[in-house]
């Protein structure tokens, strides 16, 4: 089976030779390929070549467009700087208050360079890596609002200006749906929804602002003909039942969630978890035995319905040997 076949079969609850291996690699991929992070973020060829090289060298089952959260924010007007070998940073152009956020207009992804690049990346993957599971990406409503306003201001807005936040998130969601359709049309097999900050706002605000919109995005991805992946890092225990209820096919679980076992029974037959090893204390720093044990434990806790991945991004300092051990641990999980 190739990565595409394995991923699709696993998601459809079919027979697989082993569970798919989907570690999130961004800075690690750029470093492995010897590409500056600026190039990785801004040059579709550089990103895709790095991802494909990692997929081939480490036997990954997927390739993704992930690099940083700023593509949509750039389209909404946030200024972003791209240091040569560091993460991109927002440098200005944020919405000054919740009221102005509500004046935001939906954007057309084809008119903005970073969004166009994402579509180009999917084109490249279709040409060069069709044997892998190709994953596009959009920012979720909460994460994008945080990108536009800053984390502290956005947090206060959720309590103080809920109506304006709702209006703004409607615009964010409308834009994301448009971006989803374009990515799926270009050939993405799956679209990830990144809504990281949701783990910080608690279940009440999650339900008030995020749940319905995430569900709309999942429905939009399904309607376009792709699988949906929902990624919220941090301890999502309090919102995991709702995350599962969005209908996302792949529900990411970070290492801060104590165990998947309490939630595994909530999965529909067509849903799987992805996770959840600690990228630092396990994948980067632990012994091969510990990495193996962690993967086995997580897989068992998920009742075998778990794509092998770390809870979040593989760190750039992770030694390639550890990645090989990590991949090997996905070989014959004991359920």
């Amino acid at each position: 089976m190739n990565g595409y076949q394995r991923s699709i079969a696993f998601l459809k609850n079919g027979t697989v030779d082993r569970p798919p291996f989907h570690p999130i690699i961004m800075r690690w991929a750029a470093r492995h390929a010897g590409t500056s992070y600026r190039e990785f973020c801004l040059n579709p060829e550089a990103k895709c070549d790095a991802m494909i090289r990692c997929a081939r060298d480490f036997d990954l089952d997927w390739v993704t467009v992930m690099s940083d959260p700023w593509a949509e924010a750039s389209a909404f007007g946030v200024d972003v700087a791209y240091p040569e070998n560091d993460l991109p940073v927002d440098t200005g152009g944020h919405l000054p208050d919740a009221t102005s956020a509500a004046l935001l207009k939906p954007f057309d992804p084809t008119e903005h360079p970073r969004c166009r690049n994402r579509l180009t990346e999917i084109d490249i993957y279709r040409k060069k890596a069709a044997d892998y599971f190709i994953v596009g990406w959009v920012e979720g409503p909460v994460a994008e609002y945080v990108d536009l306003r800053g984390a502290s201001e956005a947090s206060l807005d959720l309590l103080m200006e809920p109506d304006h936040v709702q209006q703004t998130m409607d615009v964010i969601t409308e834009s994301a749906l448009r971006f989803i359709r374009l990515q799926v049309e270009r050939g993405a097999h799956c679209i990830g929804i990144g809504d990281a900050f949701c783990s910080q706002i608690g279940p009440d605000l999650y339900r008030q602002f995020a749940f319905e919109r995430q569900k709309m995005l999942v429905d939009g991805i399904h309607a376009a003909g792709a699988f949906a992946k929902l990624h919220i890092c941090g301890n999502t225990s309090a919102i995991l039942p709702d995350m599962i209820a969005t209908g996302a096919d792949i529900v990411d679980i970070d290492h801060l969630v104590p165990s998947m076992s309490a939630f595994a029974a909530m999965l529909a037959p067509s849903q799987v978890f992805s996770g959840k090893a600690d990228p630092v204390s396990v994948i980067q720093d632990a012994s091969p035995e510990k990495i193996h044990q962690t993967v086995m434990r997580d897989y068992r806790d998920a009742g075998g319905r778990c794509i092998i991945s770390a809870g979040c991004e593989i760190t750039p300092d992770t030694h390639p040997d550890n990645m090989r051990v990590f991949r090997k641990a996905a070989e014959v999980p004991e359920t």
Partner: protein, 221 residues
């Protein structure tokens, strides 16, 4: 505690900044921390007692945060309420009629621009009676050194949200240790662990703000 101070503690606990604030909805149009702190001073309550009320409120906030009963937005509202009250106490601290437990110098390490965790820790420590000197984000080791030089006896706290900037935390600790071998240094942030704290020769790691306050209180006692 007198009723007015109880009310002040309650404003901190529930994040009621001032009368105009719409949060929390069930305290709408009631006086907030701003008005109550000012009135308490005008009525002659000693600044130290007012500070105690703020600490009581913050302790409730910290407890609820660690029990996952409130989350970052509510925590930040409480911080806002506390800041409003503390503004009235500032002259008392400056004149020495009220005293803080110690000084905490905090910042995110060089290269790291993520400040929400640092902000929460800073406000929580301030709300527990410490002077907090917030150096902001992307703080170079030399900036920490300069502040330590100005504030003998202070405790330094630094955070890193990214694994890529953890390495800068190590370097910052080394630079501080070279100049001030006995400097007390606390570290925190999502990728930081107890082991990493030990490896880089820092003194204390806590995954949340409550642990940091407990550590500081031990030092201060």
């Amino acid at each position: 505690m007198e009723e007015i101070l109880n009310n002040l503690a309650r404003c901190i606990e529930f994040g009621k900044t001032d009368k105009a604030s719409a949060w929390p909805p069930d305290m709408k149009e009631q006086d907030g921390a701003d008005e109550i702190a000012l009135r308490a001073l005008e009525e002659g309550h000693p600044p130290d007692r007012i500070l105690e009320a703020l600490i009581t409120g913050m302790e409730a906030v910290g407890r609820k945060f660690s029990e996952n009963k409130i989350f970052v937005p509510q925590m930040l509202m409480s911080a806002k309420a506390m800041k409003a009250a503390m503004a009235h106490l500032k002259p008392a601290f400056e004149s020495g009629t009220a005293r803080r437990k110690g000084t905490f110098v905090i910042g995110t390490v060089q290269g790291d621009l993520h400040d929400i965790g640092k902000n929460i820790v800073a406000m929580y420590i301030e709300g527990n009676g410490y002077e907090v000197v917030d150096l902001g984000v992307d703080v170079k080791p030399e900036q920490f050194l300069a502040e330590i030089g100005k504030r003998p006896g202070c405790v330094v706290g630094m955070s890193a949200l990214l694994t890529t900037t953890m390495i800068n935390m190590k370097r910052t600790v080394e630079v501080i240790r070279d100049a001030y071998p006995d400097q007390v240094i606390c570290v925190g942030g999502a990728p930081v662990t107890e082991k990493f704290c030990r490896d880089i020769n820092a003194d204390f790691y806590s995954p949340g703000p409550q642990g940091a306050v407990t550590f500081l209180n031990k030092l201060a006692s």
